[in-house]
């Protein structure tokens, strides 16, 4: 077919683009080296017209990061989906994985293009900082380029070999390629993270007088915040990948022409949302660890982050996370309308909504109010007499753990909606599950209240007990549920595709909110360095040295999100051009699912 040959030629062209870009960057970097050796000293800063250097680099870095998160998150999604397809012999998952891997090819090019823009931006606008960092991290930059090379070719093999290695042992080999792709991607992320975390938390022995050549590579690479950022980003990429998949499915659902298409994309949207919210539940724990490491690295930085000029940022963050929890749960509750038997759980949703709203309100309560002297006097201190009580970590940890437990309960009810357990111990099992929820909630509440009566150092440790109680409850309840629902009778088929349109807009809101939240957290992470390129080592002496207020930051973030979503929409549209013949051949199988969780 002419369509196939055109697609094949174009795909190889696009496939070679990321490698070409990376090689070009490498050649430029090599060309710069001799100039430095001849005693040429680059200027410290360059100028960028209209928006300024800071905004230019900000936008380039943020967009590179959005695409990087996408191309790291989606392979995780794809390899898990492929594995489920292999183990369950359900072909839908295999097709789902392939559908997204194809989108990766174009996204990969976009990632490389924005990476090139970022590097060229740094070379031309911040040559002094670029020279400093490249002198310390040169070996890792070479390895980075090499891994990127391998990653690209693994992706080509993974995608183009999909149909050739579809059966038997070859399929396992193909799945192995998917795992390898993830390993390369993770390695690339770990290396890049070392550069940016070094700027945040350089080793203690590095001072403004330390020549970059004297900085020990490994101590700079594995700096204080490197591993917490790695873990946090890894989980966040999964969330992000799931959210974008959900938005893609929602768009396809809304524009579907047939019931089969609608059923296919309804199911895909559910899977995307499931992955995004599941990973989101874990994300706050990684965030707390990162925050703790920042405090331990430098208390001043920690104070700036939580109680200084950024204190209001966390109020906005709490609002965004509340939107995520509410939209994710809302999607599930609406989705129950297409599951026979779910009506018996519907009366509980209003109570779960109440818990989520109270939790969101507590989480959004600021601890330190920015106040002038008169206001401080009126409040009797820097803390509000009533709201100040809710602003402490004890209350916030309790709130977020309750929100997580509630969201998990939503998933559990959704999963069990159309099932009727046939095991003899069903009643006992359900009672134990209920008791686990109750004990977990009691532990969270107990330590939440007890935290008010102990010193802050002791209180910090309580969050670990709260987290462990919630995680233990989630794991145990899931294990019991899996065994209890073995051979369960169906109360009726899930009517995939019979989903109100308003539910799909919840998926769009999730994707936009996740993306915006990533931008906001990027600003927080970078902004706490304040007027330092490398914290307390290399001072920012440019005209943009002051860290902007949240209002300006939000405009830049929104612009970045808008550009990203526009480009992703284009990528999806391009993917749709190639996908049409495939979809019509696969959608038929999607209505056959009897399981609420799709497994």
């Amino acid at each position: 077919m002419p369509k196939i040959s055109r697609r094949g030629g174009w795909s190889w062209l696009q496939a070679s683009l990321p490698v070409a870009i990376v090689v070009a960057i490498g050649l430029i970097a090599i060309a710069i080296e001799p100039l430095a050796a001849q005693g040429y000293t680059p200027r410290e800063y360059g100028d960028f017209p209209v928006i300024g250097s800071r905004a230019a680099i900000w936008i380039a870095a943020q967009l590179h990061l959005f695409f990087a998160a996408f191309v790291l998150g989606v392979p995780m999604f794809a390899v898990v989906a492929e594995a489920i397809g292999i183990f369950s012999s359900d072909d839908r998952y295999d097709k789902l994985a392939k559908e997204f891997t194809r989108l990766l090819l174009v996204s990969y090019s976009a990632t490389a293009i924005w990476g090139a823009i970022l590097v060229f931006g740094l070379i031309t606008l911040y040559p002094g900082l670029w020279g400093y960092l490249s002198e310390i991290f040169a070996p890792s930059m070479w390895v980075y380029v090499g891994i990127f090379f391998f990653e690209s070719f693994t992706l080509y093999l993974y995608y183009y070999g999909w149909d050739r290695w579809k059966k038997g042992r070859a399929k396992w080999g193909h799945w192995g390629l998917g795992i390898l792709l993830n390993l390369w991607g993770t390695a690339v992320m770990l290396i890049a993270n070392s550069w940016l975390t070094y700027m945040m938390s350089p080793p203690a022995e590095v001072t403004p007088d330390t020549a970059p050549g004297m900085v020990q590579f490994w101590s700079a690479f594995a700096n204080a915040t490197w591993m917490p950022i790695n873990i946090h980003r890894l989980i966040a990429n999964v969330v992000f990948g799931g959210a974008i998949v959900g938005a893609y499915a929602a768009y396809r659902f809304l524009s579907a022409k047939t019931d089969e298409e609608r059923a296919h994309y309804d199911w895909m949207g559910y899977i995307g949302n499931f992955i995004a919210i599941s990973a989101l539940i874990v994300l706050p724990f990684a965030g707390y660890w990162l925050g703790r490491e920042i405090y331990e690295f430098n208390q001043q930085m920690g104070t700036t982050m939580m109680g200084g000029f950024m204190s209001w940022l966390w109020v906005v963050q709490a609002f965004l996370i509340a939107v995520l929890f509410l939209a994710g749960n809302y999607y599930l509750w609406v989705g129950m309308g297409r599951i026979p038997g779910a009506e018996r759980f519907m009366p509980y949703t209003k109570w779960m909504l109440l818990v989520l709203l109270i939790g969101a309100a507590v989480w959004a309560t600021p601890r330190n109010m920015i106040a002038d002297r008169a206001e401080i006097t009126a409040m009797g201190g820097q803390f509000h007499p009533f709201l100040g009580v809710l602003g402490v970590m004890s209350a916030k940890n309790t709130a977020v753990n309750f929100m997580i437990l509630t969201t998990f309960l939503s998933f559990l009810l959704y999963r069990r909606a159309n099932k009727k357990a046939v095991v003899s111990w069903e009643k006992t099992g359900t009672t134990i599950q209920g008791a686990l929820f109750a004990v977990s909630a009691a532990v969270v509440l107990f330590y939440g209240i007890y935290g008010y009566f102990v010193p802050s150092i002791v209180r910090i440790g309580f969050s670990v007990y709260q987290v462990l109680a919630v995680i233990a409850a989630i794991i145990l309840v899931v294990v019991i549920d899996v065994f209890m629902m073995r051979g369960a009778e169906s109360r009726g088929e899930i009517r995939w595709g019979e989903m109100p349109e308003r539910s799909q807009y919840a998926l769009f809101i999730l994707a936009v909110t996740f993306t915006w939240l990533m931008g906001l957290m990027g600003f927080a992470r970078s902004g706490i360095r304040q007027h330092w390129h490398v914290f307390e080592v290399i001072r920012d002496t440019s005209v943009d040295a002051a860290t902007p207020a949240l209002g300006y930051a939000s405009i830049v973030i929104s612009v970045c999100v808008l550009i990203f979503l526009s480009l992703v929409t284009f990528i999806f549209w391009v993917g749709g051009l190639a996908e049409k013949p495939v979809i019509s051949g696969t959608a038929g199988g999607t209505t056959a699912s009897a399981s609420a969780d799709g497994d």
Partner: protein
């Protein structure tokens, strides 16, 4: 129509978030200005310098931000107000300025009930820097009375007796520990505080070389279980001891068996 609706939801969501972020108080983190410590320095400049020192190089927030090791100075304590409001009533007959200054140059002089002696080595800072800290603390709810003449006098004193050298002249290990405020954090024979690792039994737990390194470069190797206090121990302790005092101290601690 679907495309327009989707676009509307996306742009609408972005608009709401942008609006919220612009509706809350807008605080920019400005670049700290360079402050001159001459006799004509203004109170405002002193306060600014003190603020930076307080949350930065002075290391004050290591203890005063934790709420447990030391009272919080920037917020109300015990219903007595912020430090600027309560400093003038701490010692009878002593005004706020004199009280704050003396608290820093002689940390063991006034110990607030319920707290251990302050682990603060005023000798790390210049006289002018200490006055800037005093000005900053006065500014927390009080009136700044530190003047350029205080700074000039301190600078002259610094010039006459440059900082450096040992805190105490004695080579007695207990005198060295007391003089260097070690017992402000470490416990020995019932004396001191239980903030850092106890000196009792230290020789049986830690190798001699590690004890020495711990004194000279405390950030290099944090004792297990004390990660949250990283950065609390003065990094310049090695500069405050003579070679003999260091070895006396190391030998003494290494000799503390179980």
């Amino acid at each position: 129509m679907t495309n327009i609706k989707v676009l509307g939801v996306m742009i609408g969501t972005l608009a709401v978030y942008t609006w919220i972020a612009n509706a809350i108080p807008q605080i920019e983190s400005a670049v700290p200005e360079e402050v001159s410590f001459s006799a004509d320095v203004s109170p405002a400049e002193l306060v600014a310098a003190g603020a930076e020192l307080y949350s930065g190089g002075g290391g004050c927030t290591t203890c005063h931000g934790l709420e447990t090791r030391a009272p919080n100075l920037l917020t109300d304590y015990n219903g007595e107000g912020t430090i600027g409001q309560r400093c003038g009533t701490r010692v009878s007959g002593q005004d706020c300025k004199a009280y704050l200054h003396e608290s820093m140059v002689d940390p063991a002089g006034y110990i607030l009930e319920g707290f251990e002696p302050m682990v603060f080595q005023a000798r790390v800072l210049s006289g002018a820097q200490i006055w800037s800290l005093v000005a900053f603390l006065q500014d927390q709810g009080g009136v700044v009375t530190v003047s350029g003449s205080d700074v000039a006098t301190a600078a002259e004193a610094d010039a006459a007796a440059p900082a450096g050298g040992p805190m105490v002249a004695s080579n007695d290990p207990l005198e060295i520990m007391r003089g260097n405020l070690c017992l402000g954090c470490h416990m020995l024979d019932g004396e001191g505080a239980e903030l850092g690792p106890a000196f009792d039994g230290m020789g049986s737990r830690i190798a001699t070389d590690r004890i020495r390194t711990g004194i000279i470069d405390p950030a290099l190797d944090i004792a297990e279980g004390f990660d949250h206090l990283a950065g609390s121990m003065p990094p310049n302790l090695g500069d405050m001891l003579t070679a003999r005092q260091l070895e006396v101290l190391v030998d003494f601690l290494a000799g503390q068996g179980g």
